[in-house]
């Protein structure tokens, strides 16, 4: 279905205001979505108390369901609306829905005050956040693309692509400023609500900016001519001609893009914190620097995709990611591996304390803290907590060991560069994808058709990455432990790298499908 493009008449100034208004709204939606994850530790104590299985179940649902399952439904629901009544009004609704849900999370009383109603309300509002996000991105990308001159869609839509990363920065920044403006006790008591409540101000500003925008010219024209769809869902997924492109967009592009995106931005952060055991503040700082350095490349590769085509850039991004992930993660692991460093024996300290266990009557907790220093300046703190039951005949609990490594500037920069390389892969696959998806589907079903593969690829294939990768790595580690106990050869030389098979295989399949079936020119030109 190749249709003739209308001549672009938008001038650059009005285009910049369109991009600005669209990007600010999308950025705020990402901010709202990430703020929940960034405050997860505090929220757990307020709404999902430890040791309560029902609250734990609701907490897991709130994390998984909103991030993965609900987003595609939001894409379908709001995509349909966007193709029926227009892009502008639909993404105004998603913005208000997201802002309202985030604001209300900040008002929910704690579990101590209202019991199970608290985690239940959090879950419901989190689901609304997921729905809103599912509807927002497709609307913003479609809106901007339909305002852009046909040969510059990669460049202009790439600004929308930067918002996910910048939204993460802002969420971390608002939390940091809030934390620094009050005591730790105040933050834990009520200060954590501020980042949620602040959202409503940002949403109102964005609403006012967006309110004055006009409907997308291509959609307005289609509507005036009576060429809009009466049933976008049926035309997108019930029509074989369009559905085959929905499948191609998913398996040949967004599936691979989703896992590369999550590996570069979230798995890398998780790996540095939990496998390399790097101090949390140092981890956040180095991730922030690497992401900031990489963010302009979304625009660079979006622009380049207008010149040389989208396919080559996205496929190259997947290929280099697949080929280099194991090498990069091995290098990250070895950079912080204390076996590669020389310990300063004289600096060793050990301290041990015993305190009563507040959760178990008569029980106690023995805490042993060991510190070690290394010749290059690296420091290790190892805290071992052992719960001792009141009944001496009870089975001894497994000790909890937490290692924190404070790395040197040299190692920090090594990690920054290694994450930066992964962010470049992200920008290669993600920078051009909005324009690629927009150009795959005609105006009348574009919002619906492009939103679904995007959110399935990112929300489900990408969103499951941390859980699947951790599962694979843990399985490999356990297999090594069993083999070690049995005295047989270890089946995995580097169990910490096993989780990477998920992004490597998924991106590999996506690369093969993309190379064979995707064309380097727009499927639809309007």
């Amino acid at each position: 279905m190749i249709t003739e493009a209308p001549k672009a008449t938008s001038n650059t100034r009005s285009l910049i205001s369109v991009i600005g208004a669209s990007s600010v709204g999308t950025l705020i939606e990402w901010y709202d979505f990430y703020i929940f994850g960034s405050l997860a530790t505090v929220l757990a104590t307020k709404f999902f108390p430890e040791g309560n299985p029902t609250a734990a179940f609701l907490s897991t649902l709130a994390t998984f369901a909103a991030g993965f399952i609900v987003r595609p439904f939001g894409a379908l629901f709001f995509g349909r609306l966007g193709d029926l009544i227009g892009r502008k009004y639909t993404f105004m609704v998603t913005l208000m829905l997201m802002g309202g849900a985030t604001f209300l999370i900040g008002l929910i009383p704690s579990f101590e005050s209202i019991g199970y109603l608290a985690p239940f309300l959090v879950l419901v509002l989190r689901l609304l956040q997921g729905l809103a996000l599912g509807g927002e991105y497709g609307g913003a990308a479609t809106y901007v693309a339909e305002y852009s001159p046909v040969g510059q869609r990669g460049y202009w839509t790439s600004w929308i692509q930067t918002t996910a990363t910048i939204g993460l920065f802002i969420s971390l920044l608002v939390i940091l400023v809030t934390r620094k403006s009050m005591s730790k006790e105040e933050f834990d008591e009520w200060g954590w609500r501020v980042p949620f409540l602040v959202s409503i101000l940002m949403v109102l500003v964005s609403y006012i900016i967006r309110k004055n925008m006009h409907e997308s010219p291509l959609f307005a024209k289609a509507k005036a001519e009576g060429k809009t769809s009466t049933n976008p869902l049926k035309e997108s997924f019930g029509n074989k001609y369009n559905f085959k492109f929905v499948l191609l967009a998913l398996f040949g592009a967004t599936m691979g893009q989703g896992v590369v995106w999550y590996t570069g931005q979230f798995y890398a952060m998780n790996f540095i914190k939990t496998v390399c055991n790097v101090d949390a503040i140092q981890s956040d700082e180095l991730m922030t620097v690497a992401l900031l350095m990489g963010t302009p490349f979304f625009v660079v590769f979006g622009w380049l995709s207008d010149k040389i085509g989208r396919k080559g850039i996205m496929m190259f991004g997947m290929l280099v990611a697949i080929l280099s992930y194991r090498t990069i993660y091995e290098k990250m692991y070895q950079t912080t591996n204390l076996k590669n460093k020389q310990e300063v024996v004289a600096s060793f300290t050990a301290d041990s304390t015993v305190a009563s266990d507040p959760k178990v009557a008569g029980g106690s907790i023995k805490t042993k803290t060991v510190t070690r220093a290394y010749t290059d300046g690296t420091e290790l703190t190892e805290v071992t907590k052992l719960k001792i039951a009141a009944d001496p005949s009870a089975e001894p609990a497994k000790p909890e060991i937490k290692r924190t490594v404070k790395i040197t500037d040299t190692d920090r920069w090594s990690l920054i560069w290694l994450v930066f390389i992964q962010v470049i892969f992200v920008t290669l696959v993600y920078g051009p994808i909005a324009a690629f998806l927009v150009e795959m589907f005609p105006v009348k079903i574009r919002y619906t058709s492009m939103s679904l593969p995007y959110h399935v690829g990112n929300g489900i294939f990408g969103g499951l990455l941390p859980a699947v990768a951790t599962y694979l790595a843990t399985g490999a580690k356990e297999a090594n432990t069993l083999a070690d106990k049995a005295g047989t050869a270890l089946p995995y030389a580097a169990p910490y790298l096993e989780g990477l098979w998920y992004p490597i295989i998924v991106a590999g399949v996506s690369l093969a499908i993309g190379l064979i079936y995707i064309k380097n020119k727009a499927q639809v030109v309007d």
């Binding site: 734990a56 897991t60 499948l247 489900i460 079936y517």
Partner: protein
């Protein structure tokens, strides 16, 4: 190229079967059986959402490829 596109349809059908088998036996069912809350939710997502998407989607994609729907 059209011959390659059609032939690869068989590969995607085979991949759908493999993904379904390993997804259920190695990921989904062990998670459902573990008894932990996190694992239960994760297992349900694998079995109810991820596997039908991968298997169903790849089967349709493979069939379309075999039928020459993606031919130039």
């Amino acid at each position: 190229m059209n011959t390659v596109k059609r032939f690869m349809g068989v590969v995607w059908l085979g991949l759908a079967a493999l993904a379904g088998y390993f997804g259920l036996t190695s990921l989904g069912l062990p998670k459902l059986a573990s008894g932990k809350t996190d694992d239960l939710v994760f297992g349900l997502i694998i079995v109810i959402v991820l596997m039908p998407l991968i298997v169903g989607g790849l089967i349709r994609f493979g069939l379309y490829a075999l039928q020459g729907e993606y031919d130039d």
